[in-house]
């Protein structure tokens, strides 16, 4: 067995030397929220243009913001837009470029129960630690006919700096004045209760392994791991399940997306809108010194806005509204490469 390892090592070293001559390697890191679609994109892009490699590491939106500010990666990714102070502190101005739309769903582990409905008040109360048992009226009221166990709730949240957290807390801040006052919205907050998991992957993993738990993850993570997730009541009063349509409806309702593309679409007003939806952004410096890397990145961004968008629906991410795509294409010209 060890000989196979050595053979693989030698083979790999040779390959690495050979491969390293040809390819341009661009490194990005950040949000775990869009990681499934990003990893698909970068894979397909590499198949299309075999000399261009984009290495994306999902370390959390907080990591994406920090590392792009530090200049240790070529681009970042986040679902929690950078604040004005953060943008001001950047050595090179940074562009937010929306890529897809996704949904944050409340996923749970209750043996025998597949569908649940959550009111905004219930979600806030659960993560504030006010509701501690599954059969609490706050949850039971919205779910008549469902036999909820009298077990203690195990909330699960992110232990790392997360855009998914930003989206979720942004929503909770809008629907719960108490949440807004005591916890607030950020990529990393002071959670009143709950276990911490690393990345969307970690939260999904913890929920999967811990009975009676409830966490929040991007929709695809719940789907790919066959975890049940709840419907959430939106501003119009209807219980909506996260889906391509309901997420797209949330974006359609967003008036006046500003020029820097930073906008929040949680708690959207439309009747069919899913209330915990959001854009996710790539963070790209406006000046990229390395000509090869800059060209590769720009090529990817163009590809992403055209061919890439069609790869999103199969993974349950909603593609960008066409008007937004046009505006974004124009924004790409702000990125200068080389020199």
């Amino acid at each position: 067995m060890r000989q196979r390892v050595w053979a693989a090592v030698v083979f790999g070293l040779v390959l690495a030397v050979v491969a390293s001559r040809a390819a341009v390697l661009v490194t990005g890191a950040g949000a775990t929220f869009p990681y499934p679609i990003y990893s698909k994109w970068f894979d397909e892009f590499h198949k299309r243009f075999s000399d261009l490699q984009i290495n994306y590491q999902s370390i959390g939106s907080g990591g994406g913001i920090r590392q792009v500010l530090d200049g240790t990666i070529d681009f970042g990714a986040t679902d929690g837009p950078m604040t004005d102070e953060q943008l001001a502190s950047a050595k090179i101005p940074i562009l937010h470029l929306p890529t897809v739309l996704g949904a944050v769903v409340p996923t749970f582990n209750l043996p025998g129960i597949e569908r649940l409905r959550f009111t905004p008040e219930a979600l806030a109360a659960i993560f504030l630690g006010k509701v501690t048992k599954w059969d609490d009226p706050a949850i039971a009221e919205a779910n008549p006919g469902v036999k909820l166990p009298s077990q203690a709730l195990v909330p699960v949240h992110r232990s790392d700096g997360s855009g998914t957290t930003y989206i979720f807390t942004d929503y909770l801040s809008k629907v719960s004045p108490e949440w807004q006052k005591t916890v607030g919205r950020n990529t990393s907050v002071n959670w009143p209760v709950g276990l911490g998991g690393k990345g969307n992957e970690g939260v999904a993993g913890l929920v999967k392994q811990t009975p009676n738990s409830i966490g929040y993850v991007e929709l695809i993570y719940a789907l790919q791991n066959k975890l049940p997730y709840g419907d959430v009541r939106n501003r119009a009063g209807k219980f909506v399940q996260a889906s391509l349509d309901s997420v797209t409806a949330a974006a359609a309702g967003a008036e006046n997306i500003p020029d820097d593309f930073r906008v929040s679409i949680t708690d959207a007003p439309a009747a069919t809108a899913y209330p915990i939806a959001s854009f996710t952004w790539l963070l790209v410096p406006t000046r990229i010194a390395d000509a090869d890397k800059g060209a590769a990145l720009k090529k990817f961004l163009e590809w992403m806005l055209s061919d890439g968008q069609s790869l999103a629906p199969p993974l349950n991410y909603a593609p960008l509204p066409p008007a937004l795509v046009t505006r974004e294409r124009q924004a790409l010209s702000k990125i200068t490469v080389g020199g």
Partner: protein
């Protein structure tokens, strides 16, 4: 002085109880080892495949990925680590053994002890602040450098120890024959102690091979082959960690396979090192 039957029997009883407990402790310790190795072996072997050794990681949720780049990445990182850790540890150890009788040597030994005790994550943070941030990228070099720093104390101490074990008669004979000090050290003393020194270096390397935390901040990770030495790279421990905390069964399988490979390499190096050392001494034993 005949003990009365009663109290003697009680004392023997206590003895039997205590020694049984000691035996249970020993059995549990061995039991843990066997369980650990067995569990990993069973889960790892079923996940091993040619794919694992030759493929790159697949996109999230798609099967058929492998850890080929992680294995190569770890090899490259360890190469850099060895280049950093061995010269400093080996040559520094020569100084301590052959020249160091004084206060300075004491401080060097103390500093090495401190360095040895520094948690690996703190070393990762330091290298991030000193190398990754100023130079603007994560890299194999930074990762190897961090691991090399961790190798230094072990290499230093083992070199010093084994050089000290060389009998002074050898040194004196060489000097008496007119050899300069440096020739005595390099051509006589070091070769005499080389077996133990190599053992120590091998153990140092094996120890850092399994380190994950410092690599998180220095080498990051890479979906592809890492070109050259100044790009982020995948490594076995980081991949195992990433896959283990994720929810995908396919990733879990790969994590077990990776764990088995890593464990085999590390234990293999350890066993090799100990065999080398015990083989050299005239003593009996394992």
């Amino acid at each position: 002085m005949t003990p009365t039957a009663g109290s003697y029997r009680r004392r023997r009883f206590v003895e039997r109880v205590m020694f049984t407990l000691a035996g249970i402790a020993t059995a549990s310790s061995i039991g843990i080892l066997i369980f650990l190795l067995g569990y990993i072996a069973v889960h790892g072997v079923t996940a091993l495949s040619l794919d694992f050794f030759t493929n790159l990681p697949a996109p999230v949720g798609e099967p058929g990925g492998g850890m080929a780049n992680a294995i190569v990445g770890s090899a490259k990182i360890l190469l850099v680590a060895a280049l950093v850790g061995i010269p400093v540890g080996f040559v520094g150890g020569i100084y301590l053994a052959e020249y160091g009788r004084s206060g300075l040597a004491f401080w060097v030994r103390y500093a090495a002890d401190v360095l040895n005790g520094v948690p690996s994550i703190v070393i990762g943070i330091t290298v991030y602040a000193l190398i990754v941030r100023p130079f603007g990228h994560f890299s194999t070099l930074a990762g190897g450098f961090a691991l090399g720093l961790m190798m230094i104390p072990v290499a230093l101490r083992s070199t010093e120890e084994f050089l000290r074990l060389v009998p002074s008669s050898l040194r004196e004979a060489s000097l008496a024959l007119g050899a300069p000090t440096w020739v005595t050290i390099m051509r006589v003393v070091v070769p005499a102690g080389i077996r133990g020194i190599v053992t120590g270096l091998l153990l140092a390397l094996a120890r850092v091979a399994g380190e994950t935390a410092p690599l998180l901040f220095t080498a990051l990770n890479n979906r592809f082959w890492s070109p050259g030495w100044r790009a982020p790279t995948a490594s076995l421990p980081v991949m195992i960690f990433t896959y283990a905390i994720a929810p995908y069964d396919d990733w879990h399988r790969q994590a077990w396979a990776g764990g088995l490979v890593l464990l085999t390499l590390v234990l293999g190096a350890n066993i090799l090192a100990r065999l080398l050392m015990h083989g050299g001494r005239a003593r009996g034993g394992a």
